[in-house]
Amino acid sequence: MRANQWRDRSMVVLSTLVLSLAVSACGDDQDGGPPTDSAGTDMLDVDVVEDTAPDTAEPAEPIRPAHCSDKLSPGPAPSRRLTRTEYNHTVADLLGITTDPGNRFPPEEETLGFDNNASSRNVTQIHVERYQEAAENMVSEMLATNRAQVLKCDADSVGALLCAEWTIRDFGKLCFRRPLTAVEQARYWDFFGALYAEDNDFDRAIGMVLEVMLQSPQFLYRLEVGHEDADGDGVAALTSFEIASRLSYLLWNSMPDDYLLAAAEVGSLDTPEGIAVEARRLLENPRARRASLHFHRQWLQVDDLALVHKDADVFPEYDAALRDRMTAETERFVTHAIFEGTGDLPTLLAADYTIADATLAAHYGVSPPTGELDEDGFGRVSLEGGQRAGLFTHGSTMTVQSKPNQSSPVLRGKWVREQLLCDHLDPPPADVDITPPAVEPGLSTRERFRQHSDDPACSGCHNKMDPLGFTFENYDALGRWRTIDEGGSPVDPTGEVLFTWDADGPVDNAVDMAQTLAQSEQVHDCYIKQWFRYTHARDVTFADECNMFDLRKAFYDAELDIQSLLVALTQTEAFRYRPVADPDTTPVPEEVQDGE
């Protein structure tokens, strides 16, 4: 079984990692032998593993590297500021405000394909102004129209001070996603008391407390401290409330609900099993679908569709309605494949169906949806004719990965190479004319791009893209099926998968390639890696070797079931632990106003 070969692969990868560490250690060691000797020996071991690994029915059970048990290795755990999406969902759940106030914040800096990378994001004056504005608007709206959402008491009947105390305690717990400390409660209560003493205006005073909370780092950021590091290994288990937030933001893009906070309170999240139970519960909630889409839209670059322009002379039928249909198809298909269908990655990648409406089906030239249709007329469309497969041939993807007036084997190949195989490609050298060759009657796409394979200056990189991209030639720049290309030549959709761990070889067309890559360990590994980046708001590091091993094992044990992968993401050391902060205790510069 192909799915078991990852074990050999991971052995090679792990051995190489260990090897590189060994080499550098040797280099530092004056008394050690020449690094090359040591390296050569290790290399031999790796080769032996590979050569003796049976590729028949009974492969060796993968062995978790021994050093994984020596020490917990969670990798970095940077604090994270809520993204606009997370903010919008959070205030909807916290306050019932569904106007998406976060949309007025500056957009997230995008890194490695996702909107939440902790390293690239920054705060400027305009962020602070907008947080302030949002807090003021939301609080005044709450106090005017929906007091019961934030105030569980009536100041007139229980008294202003008591009602304030309860509000600080109860709303504060939801806002900060954990109980307030005694110090925090006292501080807010003092703040309230001083304001209230000025004019006996309860709403003004409690409103200001709420505004502070909604601009607090405890609300805007997910700050984690962890339990005390009792054994002094520099790694701390996250508190159960910290785990609750990790769960809800990963699986819902929002704050924990009452059940999750209660689970944290009673200690249900102190064990991996307890975390898994809650993860599965969260996955059953519809919020999990929007969170999954938030990941997949970014990974697949479908969001870019809104900005894609087509040459109106060549594609007069391209309009917003078509774009919306294509987006809807991808979203509905992803949700169906993961939550309603078989749930496995190969199906997501290469399914013989999609979810479309009659108009889009006609655009593709396939039969309209059959069976039950949703309110927008979308339903299951069979792709059994062999012209299309899974995400690979969606109109959204084909349209984004095209030029305004023609298909683009380069963009399409690059998309496969970078998004699905997690390979990094350098951009073309600075002073090269990268205009796609003009469409010429009588010249096939393949012939027009011949320079890429003939010229050694181009072929190094383009052999990683073009032979993948040519397989998509059956789809025009709007994703429609065709057998004649722009230049009037018959489409030749054959291609070749090259430079992969395990999927190299000729392919007949895009469907054949999709089916091949759907079974590729490199693609499976890449999918895990993309989820890991998104889950932890950072790239995979060397410290994540054991985390990645555990995820691979769980994903293959679950036969590539995506929901199982999401649960597995909550089970790793990276998810449950963090490095103990090494505080930078340089004094904070004083400013005059601090003395006020």
Binding site: N122, V123, Q125, P404, D431
Partner: protein
């Protein structure tokens, strides 16, 4: 512009759902003479960016230093020729170094004149990844000095800027700290003018409240800093610094409407919250002009002295359907020099940007300041991340300056420079604003100010 009625603005505020305080305007006092130097009017600095290089043959003026004739691209600037400095031959030499592809280095070096960081944030050229810019941008360097007494240290206007990455940011507070532009004219209007002419008593109440709330918030950030590691500290410290900036400016009084300072009225549909159309490609010019109206008023009202307006971003694919063009700008910019049809379109596009630049200069000239105009006390830098698009060269970048910075620059000239680094152009402008500096950006490439520009 001076004729915009109060009624129009009030109507706008109502339409936009802003807070309407139906109380008298502040009395129209004369502008306080805060500025240093000979003029009582402060100096201002504006950056105007358009992307993807130019067509040199049609950008370049003909003729002599003062007798030049504008080419097809810059022809719309003819009414302002006496206020121009057209500079040929200035190279972004630093942008040949360090990580990043052509557009990335062009954009990130354009105002910082130093190498990008070797971060792992974005895919870049040269075999790896690239980070944000490696230092402060010239506009922010200037703002740090001349922007301390105004309501806003600087204002960053965007016109349909897409993306949030090293290709789409030009202003930096410092290394690794990009400053995002605001694309929404309505949001910008609210931000800039919401306090101008507000009822003083109501304003005082709001300020007291904000001060009190922000003070609490600031203390929370401050208390966290010594407890977190270096990475988190850097991020939280940025947040704390931004809070301090906002807090510091709460006290700054705005002058209110005066002879000089009027509040612009925006086209109602651009200003309408729903549907928001300022990002629709067809409204590119309208959104930009609304932004420029706000920009000029913010300077005239002395709410800020430093501003930038960024049209789209490097690698812009804007489609100029209004010019009968159906291909994306970036795709066109890659066409070879002998592709006449594409070059004609690029000339049209760059000429269109010149028309927008002329609009900005018109507006600045329409504000009287003493015997001169707002433009006289300003210098506008029109810059581009590339020399030309098809080669991605960062040599001979098309720079145009407008305004003399209060007589500091000798305008009305076309100047050619041999082997001159853009560090020194930026340095000259920094000095023109009265900011003490001997070099800017990477010191290796900073040789001193371009004295030929000076009056």
């Amino acid at each position: 512009m001076a004729n915009n009625s109060r009624f129009g603005r009030r109507a706008f505020l109502r339409g936009a759902g802003g807070v309407v305080v139906a109380l008298p305007f502040l009395s129209s006092l004369a502008r306080p003479a805060r500025a240093q130097g000979t003029s009582v009017f402060p100096k201002r600095f504006i950056v105007f960016f358009s992307p993807n290089g130019t067509v040199r043959k049609h950008w370049r003026p003909f003729g002599g230093e003062r007798t030049f004739q504008l080419g097809s691209i810059l022809e719309p600037l003819e009414p302002h020729r006496d206020q121009l400095l057209i500079l040929k031959g200035i190279n972004m030499t630093t942008a040949k170094n360090g990580p990043g592809d052509g557009h990335q280095t062009g954009m990130g070096h354009m105002l910082t004149a130093r190498e990008l960081l070797t971060g792992d944030l974005f895919e870049g050229g040269g075999g790896g990844f690239v980070g944000w810019a490696g230092g402060i941008s010239a506009d922010q360097e200037i703002a740090n000095h001349i922007g301390q007494t105004t309501k806003f240290k600087s204002l960053e206007f965007g016109v349909q800027v897409h993306g949030s990455n090293v290709w789409s940011r030009m202003c930096y507070l410092g290394a690794n700290q990009p400053l995002p532009p605001e694309n929404d004219p309505r949001a910008m209007f609210d931000r800039v003018f919401k306090d101008v002419d507000a009822d003083p008593a109501a304003l005082a109440r709001i300020r007291t409240r904000r001060k009190s709330v922000l003070d609490m918030v600031r203390q929370e950030y401050k208390a966290l800093l010594p407890t977190v590691d270096r990475f988190d500290r850097q991020k939280l410290d940025q947040h704390l610094t931004a809070i301090r900036e906002v807090e510091k400016r709460l006290d700054i009084e705005t002058t209110g409407v005066t002879d000089y300072c009027t509040v612009p009225s925006l086209p109602p549909d651009i200003a309408a919250p729903e549907p928001s159309i300022f990002m629709e490609p067809e409204r590119f010019g309208d959104a930009g002009r609304a932004q420029m109206d706000i920009l000029v008023s913010s300077l005239a009202c002395d709410l800020t002295r430093v501003a930038s307006i960024q049209w789209s971003q490097s690698v812009s694919q804007h489609v100029f359907r209004n010019l009968g063009i159906t291909s994306g700008h970036h795709d066109l910019s890659h066409e070879p020099d002998d592709a006449e049809d594409a070059q004609d379109k690029l000339v049209q596009i760059n000429r269109w940007y010149a028309q927008q630049f002329a609009y900005l200069l018109d507006k600045l000239s329409s504000v009287q300041e003493g015997d001169g105009t707002l433009l006289d006390n300003t210098v506008v830098l029109w810059c581009n991340e590339l020399g030309k698009g098809n080669s991605h060269t960062r040599d001979d970048v098309p720079y145009v300056l407008a305004g003399s910075a209060g007589g500091y620059l000798d305008t009305g000239r076309f100047l050619e420079f041999p082997l001159t680094n853009h560090n020194d152009l930026l340095l000259t402008l920094i000095q023109a604003m009265g900011v003490p500096a001997n070099q800017f950006g990477d010191p290796i490439y900073s040789n001193g100010p371009l004295t030929r520009l000076l009056a």
